[in-house]
Structure formats: structure tokens, C-alpha cells
Symmetry: C2
Subunit: 171 residues, 2 copies
């Protein structure tokens, strides 16, 4: 089964992201707007108890995530994905590293750049048009996210939450 670990920002930020995703993101229907903390990885159902235990430990260590979606950016030319850039912080970096080290399944596909995707799978000219527009609109939202989610993927690509973990620590 395929699993992933994400943080969902406030309803306000999710609603804002969806105004773009509805039009520009073919994954719109598969999952609500999120920050990926650990890329999708394969795990056996027998491993999930141990993974869940690691997540309990990690979430007991970290405080709620302070995030700032500061501008609209693009991963071009790596991919054509457009996203709300979430300012990297030592806290986010540290959560990401802890997840990577403690749940040693699946390799990170990219360097960790926290973000909320709002457009993807665009062709080159669509990307340039849409990014040109959205970059001017921009985004400036702060939020405090007090929990992280372990998700699993169904055969049609959609994601269901397996469990939530409250961030109750001090880091």
C-alpha cells in the first residue's frame, strides 16, 4: 500500500488554494490542499504499526508548525508545478529530517522545499501563461498547523487519512 505524510493548512488557506487547483491541478479531486512532509512511499500493512509509533514519537517532540505562504512560485524547469511557497524554517526542516530518518522507507524525490501545489501537469505554454498571472496575484498567509496526517492511497489515486498526530512538543 502507498502511504504519505502531510500537513493540512487552515480551511482558509485550503479554500484559497482550491480556487486555483479547481482549474489548474488534475490532482484536485484526489486530495485536499496540503504540505507534503514525506513523499509517497510503499509499506506493507504489517509495517504500519511501527510507522504509526514513529509518528507518535515525532509529533510528541515538535510544536505546532508555524507556516508562512509567502509567494506563488514554480518548480520549472524541474517540473511545471506552480505552488504557494512556504518559507523554509528550521522547524519544518527538522520535522522533515526526523520523518526521513525514523521512517526509512522510500527516498525523497527532491530536496525539501515546503509548498502547497496549486497547478501541475501543465504544458509549457499553459505554465508560462498561468504562472505569469498568478505570480502577480501572489499570496501572503500565515498559519499554525497543530497536527500531521498519515494517509494511504486508493487504487484510483485518491487519499484517505489513516491517522492524525497532534504536535504537542516544544521544538
Amino acid at each position: 500500500m502507498k502511504y504519505g505524510i502531510v500537513a493540512f493548512p487552515s480551511k482558509k488557506i485550503q479554500d484559497l488554494a482550491n480556487t486555483y487547483r479547481k482549474r489548474y491541478d488534475p490532482h484536485y479531486a484526489l486530495i485536499t490542499p496540503h504540505i507534503t512532509l514525506k513523499d509517497a512511499f510503499d509499506a506493507d500493512e504489517s509495517q504500519i504499526g511501527e510507522i504509526s509509533k514513529s509518528l507518535e514519537e515525532i509529533s510528541a517532540r515538535f510544536a505546532p508548525l508555524q507556516i508562512h505562504a509567502s509567494r506563488i512560485s514554480s518548480f520549472y524547469p524541474t517540473t511545471n508545478a506552480i505552488f504557494f511557497r512556504v518559507e523554509p524554517t528550521p522547524q519544518l526542516e527538522s520535522v522533515h529530517t526526523s520523518l526521513k530518518e525514523n521512517i526509512n522507507l522510500g527516498a525523497p524525490k527532491h530536496v525539501f522545499a515546503p509548498h502547497i501545489t496549486i497547478a501541475q501537469k501543465l504544458n509549457a505554454s499553459e505554465h508560462d501563461d498561468i504562472f505569469g498571472q498568478l505570480r502577480m496575484v501572489g499570496v501572503d498567509e500565515t498559519d499554525v498547523i497543530d497536527r500531521i496526517h498519515l494517509l494511504y492511497q486508493l487504487e484510483d489515486g485518491s487519499w484517505t487519512t489513516y491517522e492524525t498526530y497532534k504536535l504537542t512538543g516544544a521544538e
Copy 2:
């Protein structure tokens, strides 16, 4: 904000339900296949701490839900929804009643008939055609669901999980 309380069955049952929902359920993209335990209700964000506390108490009281999706049925003529009928049990009835009594927000729209919707918003002739076919195919799946989910709804109608509660009791 609008909240709801559901149980997600196993990936196997969700995948099976989605083979139908993909074609026949316009809510397909808004939420993965589920059993509604408490209909959508409005609550203020300030009330959510108390609601969550009630859910912790209820989930500590009940054992994992033993379910049996026994046949494909329809709510016609009340609505044109077609669903996997989940056999009512004293346990499911008791969970539903506890949620209703302890979270006194929103009135139940219908008598509690546990089910997993696979088709809805059909016109009368579509309903008759599709129900005629699906009823013959049927369903016969059992599952043990060890957690329930509190969800909230975004402006576009999609649902995000707020929190999961593990069923750790004996009832």
C-alpha cells in the same frame, strides 16, 4: 464550519465502492467511500475542542466496528441513492446513538441505516437501470474498522480529516 463523523472501511471495500462511484456518484471527488455515523452539522471552531473530547470518550468506550456489507440496495423513493447495505448491529446503533446524544448539534436527517453510497443524484430512469444491474452483482464483504474520523468541509464541498479516534473499548 460544517463537520461530519464517518468510518472509512478497508482499502479493499473503498476500491470496490469507487469502481461504481467513479461512474455514478457526483460526490466521488469530494470524499473517499465511507459510512456516515453522524450527518453533517454546523459547529463553531470554538466548539470543536468539546466535540473532540466527546469523540475521545466515545471511541474509548467502543470496540472496533464489525461490519458486513451484505447487498446492494436503494433509498428509492426517499432519494435515488444506491448503496452497499451495511447490516445494522446493536454496536453500530449504539455508536450512532452515542454520537447523537453527546454531540447535540444538527438533527439526524433520516433513521440510521448504515450504508456506503455508490451512486446518487441519478434521474429516475438512470436509477432504475443502474439499480437493476447492480442489485444482481451484489456485494458480500466483511470488515473490522478500528477508528472513526471527524471531518470538516471546504467551500468546494470536499472533506478534510480533522482528527482520527481509535476504537479501543469493549462495547
